[in-house]
Symmetry: C2
Subunit: 466 residues, 2 copies
Amino acid sequence: MSTTPDSAVRAYLTLHREAFLEDLADWLRIPSVSADPERAGDVRRSAEWLAAKLTDTGFPTTEIWETGGLPAVFAEWPAGDPSAPTVLVYGHHDVQPAAREDGWHTDPFAPEIIDGKMYARGAADDKGQVFFHTLGVRAHLAATDRTAPAVNLKLLIEGEEESGSPNFPALIEKHADRLACDAVIVSDTGMWSKDTPTVCTGMRGLTDCQIDLYGPDQDIHSGSFGGAVPNPATEAARLAAALHDTDRRVAIPGFYDGMIELTDRERELFAELPFDEAEWLRTAHSHATLGEAGSTTLERIWARPTAEVNGIGGGYQGPGGKTIVPSTAQLKLSFRLVAGQNAAAVQQSVRDWIAAQLPAGIRHEISFWGATRPCLTPLDHPALQSVVRAMGRAFDQKIRFTREGGSGPAADLQDVLGVPVLFLGISVPSDGWHAPNEKVELDLLMKGVETAAHLWGDLAETWPTA
Amino acid sequence: MSTTPDSAVRAYLTLHREAFLEDLADWLRIPSVSADPERAGDVRRSAEWLAAKLTDTGFPTTEIWETGGLPAVFAEWPAGDPSAPTVLVYGHHDVQPAAREDGWHTDPFAPEIIDGKMYARGAADDKGQVFFHTLGVRAHLAATDRTAPAVNLKLLIEGEEESGSPNFPALIEKHADRLACDAVIVSDTGMWSKDTPTVCTGMRGLTDCQIDLYGPDQDIHSGSFGGAVPNPATEAARLAAALHDTDRRVAIPGFYDGMIELTDRERELFAELPFDEAEWLRTAHSHATLGEAGSTTLERIWARPTAEVNGIGGGYQGPGGKTIVPSTAQLKLSFRLVAGQNAAAVQQSVRDWIAAQLPAGIRHEISFWGATRPCLTPLDHPALQSVVRAMGRAFDQKIRFTREGGSGPAADLQDVLGVPVLFLGISVPSDGWHAPNEKVELDLLMKGVETAAHLWGDLAETWPTA
């Protein structure tokens, strides 16, 4: 199995670690904040910096891809063997906003290494985790004495992920031919913890909507009319309350249709993780757990679909009281989906259910904002097994499995390109994504480089797909 | 029974009708808008105008009573017979705001008589209905050849009713001795319609509250945490939804404790009223009726207690979607109460019920704004029978019974003075209270005068309470 001698990789990394960190720090100095229109030039400079670095790394093709908004970077390095599998690495080079006065101990755009951690906006999300692929592929070549990687390697590093990737679906539709591959490796996630390295095997999907309810044509007097006409705020509440049964299962008929249940093996694997409920609640800023009966907290956030009230409003919300039956009310709901569920079918189930719940005298409108599909890679998928083996060699430890409860553009890649999506990340929850004092742990960053160095050879050897 | 010859009263009214209407128009020209601080001088001028008019009418005592806000008028006219019952007439001399540009066809403070109706702000609510007592008591004296009324007659005409009577409870507490009486006659309500004269026998009480729910310490990501922690917006909705059972009965244990159910006779009397649901729905600006199973619409708004959602809010209410589990949510609830219910006990039932409904991880606070007691006069109360007889003579028609679904300061009089509250009003729903083109129908106004002229003699003869 060991196509790349582990010791050769480690020797190469020791030699190049310092320059690699200096380069990363250079990139992190570019404040590529996609949300800030005044930083558009910096996002472009970040793309150009990366493209140049990928050319230096050896990628024969590097291109800046324009979008309706901020630019992405594409790079391609064909394998020597044309029958090798093709892998597309996804990441992003834009970052969240950051300002010293938000509580940073250092300048967020002047990287500093303190106690083995590099502090800077984007250190973990996502520049550090994109950048480990540069040294990774060089180490792969050096240790195996190759001039081209063992797989056809493509990189797509977008520039608007922190702004919701508004132009990403159009971009990948447009370049679907160039992006064609056998698997996507998303390099924009994390692990369970420093001591428990993990691979993520899927993300939940998402569809969300707004429901407007209309009752009386204007607010009316609760004394003169209350108790005798329908109240849209009450009906909005009844809808929101009826979303779940007494077991906190989603009560919309058809909602669970087609969903892939967790296997016993997957439940065992989740249960192996050293879950500390008190610690998790601190992360959730919450004071108790609550969810679907029969599922653990990890199962609830990773592998169960949900219906969540994101917002509710109706009637008087100012100070004091106002004795009215309100004219209108509104609900904003989001549904997290898991593999096997069909977003369009869920939307139709929600529409049908709502129409059936409301009494005469309440008119309603419902608008869905969109849908992101769930993605899930089976535990026995050969590419996933390669990632696990490569990480296991880098970390010298058993690799466990997680999933991600959120939803992201990875699913767009799965949809458009029609291939499995795998997740390779070395960030840990304490890295402070989107928060002050974001950092990456240098030991883990180098494990990422090492994983990348082992991965391509393993994939080419064990998954001859082409 | 006829202590006052009806024909003598009518002759007296014919003689004085023109001057009476001219006087009322003078009073209506004073824009005594209590809600407008710039009109405070006009409200005082209105009080002084009324006090002078009551002195002219013959009241030996007329006083301006200062409050923490705008002044009230008190007048007292002892009966010749010291054993006669004592009656306190309640009304108000302040009016709602009005401006020509709101849709008035005439100047709201320049009364005009068109087609037998006097148009002006306050014509029906409430100056017209206060003013009919001046000519009423004079007609009573003239027709019975008395120099003092047959009852000890007191008037309390407040100046802040249209601003929520903020100083009224303190005022009546302070003057409880002067206001002592056997019954209160509220002269500030209406009848079913011109063709169906009615007496109101009660008002619903009211207590309302705000409930704040606290979940996560900040809004959290619905992907990372949704489905595994309690959501305060969901819990607010579940509370609001659980207020009613499937029969739309209030489901709070203890809520109905002690309430006086409608008798079969009262239900029959309600059913005798010519209720047109389509017309009523237009008045309610609503598109269907909905309420407690087993009760008619009139029973629901007049004689059943209710729980109403006046406002609900939580999470994101802006444009588009935001996939969060919100940190907080809020409910504003009002409860209409009927006779026999105890507001303090209802508040405690609500507190206990809410505390028992909420899951771990949701903290809550509840604040009640206050409580107005319900009031109800039994159909067989002798004073009510007098009102019915007096109206019957004035209208020459069967008098039917209504109740009022709203709540008002009348209940404060009942509470502080410990006496029954009766309602005598001749306004009709089309009179446009609080709306443009408020008017009073002159025929009905004169029926009010005539009722007042008959009432005191009937009361003194049939209800020798003292």
